[in-house]
């Protein structure tokens, strides 16, 4: 009976009282140990509650920002002036991915649940230039595309689909001709939520699904059976994944689950690289009192080997809490805090050449962040000690 009493008293935590979740560490303390990001610029899309779900910016020229919105359109902004330069409409269902074209700033790919990937050229009055789809079962039976990526040599476009007539597909097209090169449908049992080419091994591809698996393929092989190299069972549901390099040049895959956990795996041995980090651990590292409000946004590109960076926030209040976390030496530590955030963040993008970080979210605006240039040499050890001495046991669940 005692156990049940505790279980029931914990229900109190679930009242939507945002005072329940707060930062444990004071602002001044965090200022000493965390990198501070400040709002450089902010732009609102419109008065409607459109979410900014996807974001892309070329790493070369970097003068345009491409945003995928929840209203089936994409918009393009000039990064210097923050003026809108284009609005790309044509998809009739939710946009699931936005990627700027090969090294150029005028070309962008967008994918959608409407079953198409569209290539747009801004120089041609924003017209759709090319379309990629699998119309093998008819133009009215297109497979809903939930994620896509472009190979490093820009010759192949790969996409993952949602469950369609009982199968979850991976589709491949020749980027130039839009010819459908083939597909896989045996390796996942449910919606494929993320697909990402390996940064250097040009034929390697990773996929994640709500079936809990992360698969790695070598698409130079002739059949799907031979192409499937590794399968990792997260025993959860994969939202996003990212390739990273572990120590000793071993490949790794990090993953964010739909239950707001973080996992890092070593692909070769198909074993966890670090202990799985559940939502309550993430809340501790974020210095928050309650894990019920913590959410993970997305990964950021890695700065160096053996490092995984991601953004995490809290939905408490208006979603003001936003932090950057890093897995370094297999330990998760807080690295930066974003001052002046005003929304639940859903997409992010790093523009290294301009030293900017951009976030977009559920209140329909995007923010350009700049850091105060604090030293990056923060020792993980010193931060961990702070966490241990400050963490309270409020909000702990006795599961």
């Amino acid at each position: 009976m005692n156990q049940l009493d505790t279980l029931f008293s914990m229900t109190e935590d679930l009242n939507t009282n945002s005072d329940e979740d707060a930062d444990i560490v004071s602002d001044s303390e965090s200022a000493q140990s965390l990198i501070q990001y400040y709002v450089e610029q902010e732009r609102s899309l419109s008065l409607q509650r459109t979410y900014i779900l996807h974001m892309s910016c070329s790493q070369g020229v970097a003068d345009k920002l491409f945003l995928g919105l929840s209203n089936c359109t994409s918009v393009v902004y000039d990064i210097e002036t923050l003026s809108k330069v284009a609005c790309l409409s044509g998809h009739d269902r939710t946009i699931t991915g936005v990627k700027v074209g090969a090294g150029e700033d005028d070309v962008v790919f967008t994918s959608s649940l409407d079953g198409t990937i569209k290539l747009w050229d801004l120089r041609l009055h924003n017209n759709m230039v090319r379309e990629y789809k699998d119309a093998s079962e008819g133009d009215d039976k297109l497979k809903p595309i939930s994620s896509f990526d472009i190979s490093s040599k820009k010759t192949v476009i790969a996409a993952g689909t949602e469950l369609f007539d009982g199968d979850a597909f991976m589709l491949f097209w020749d980027a130039r001709s839009t010819k459908l090169l083939g597909g896989y449908w045996e390796s996942h049992r449910d919606d494929i939520t993320h697909i990402q080419f390996h940064p250097s091994k040009k034929d390697w591809l990773a996929t994640g699904s709500t079936d809990g698996l992360m698969n790695v393929f070598d698409i130079s092989e002739c059949s799907e059976d031979d192409a499937l190299l590794y399968s990792m069972n997260t025993e959860s549901s994969v939202d996003k994944l990212q390739w990273f390099m572990c120590l000793n040049e071993v490949d790794g895959l990090s993953c964010i689950t739909h239950t707001q956990d973080l996992q890092v795996w070593e692909t070769d041995g198909v074993i966890p690289y670090a202990k799985h980090m559940q939502r309550d651990i993430i809340a501790k590292v974020m210095h928050r009192t309650s894990s019920d409000y913590c959410y993970l946004v997305d990964f950021l590109p890695e700065d160096s080997d053996d490092e995984v960076s991601l953004l995490a926030g809290s939905t408490a209040g208006k979603g003001e809490c936003l932090k950057m976390l890093k897995v370094q030496k297999k330990t998760l530590t807080p690295v930066a805090v974003f001052n002046g955030n005003k929304q639940i963040v859903r997409s992010c993008c790093s523009i290294k050449q301009k030293n900017l970080l951009v976030t977009g979210g559920e209140s329909g605006f995007f923010t350009l962040w700049k850091s105060d240039g604090l030293s990056q040499n923060i020792s993980a050890a010193s931060l961990k000690v702070k966490t241990k001495s400050k963490h309270s046991s409020v909000g702990k669940k006795p599961y």
């Binding site: 499937l228 959860s236 041995g269």
Partner: protein, 217 residues
Amino acid sequence: MSSKVSRDTLYECVREVLRHSQEKKRNFLETVEIQIGLKNYDPQKDKRFSGTVKLKHIPRPKMQVCILGDQQHCDEAKANNVPFMDVEGLKKMNKNKKLVKKLAKKYDAFLASEALIKQIPRLLGPGLNKAGKFPGLLSHQEGMMAKIDEVKATIKFQMKKVLCLSVAVGHVGMTEDELVQNVHLAINFLVSLLKKHWQNVRSLHVKSTMGPPQRLY
């Protein structure tokens, strides 16, 4: 301020579900599930509601887990009457799709030793993947029986297009307390994932497979 479910309401509800199942006994063990109806949630824009949660008490007692083990794990499985297969047994299947499919159908879940798990795609092809039965990792750091119980106690949930979710949390052979604990844990967990917590919940029901739904919230 939104309401929460009181302990009395929860007990009453579970009691009713059990009572109905006693009154009209079926010739199979009825599952008990919770049905959660959402509101103020847009599946086109809001984060996907999908994942797994480990319950306190095993909801599916008949669940069969098979160990794909190294020598040590196979010995332990044998000693504990747990079905198992070693690497030789897997090699003998010769990547035959029919055999792999048959294996997948025979068991509800699989666990594989570290040494074996990376070989599964090579040895069996994507058959287990397709069946949704790719093994979970069984390391030597944790106890095998504990991991098996963990697998048996873990349930999956996923909301697709409709704003309603059904999750199996137990069966009618469980005690009131056990059911209450499982229902409570599952609800707490699911609600904690919603952006606005209880403000995203329109309704909650508990029901047994053949019984009428009992309103909880």
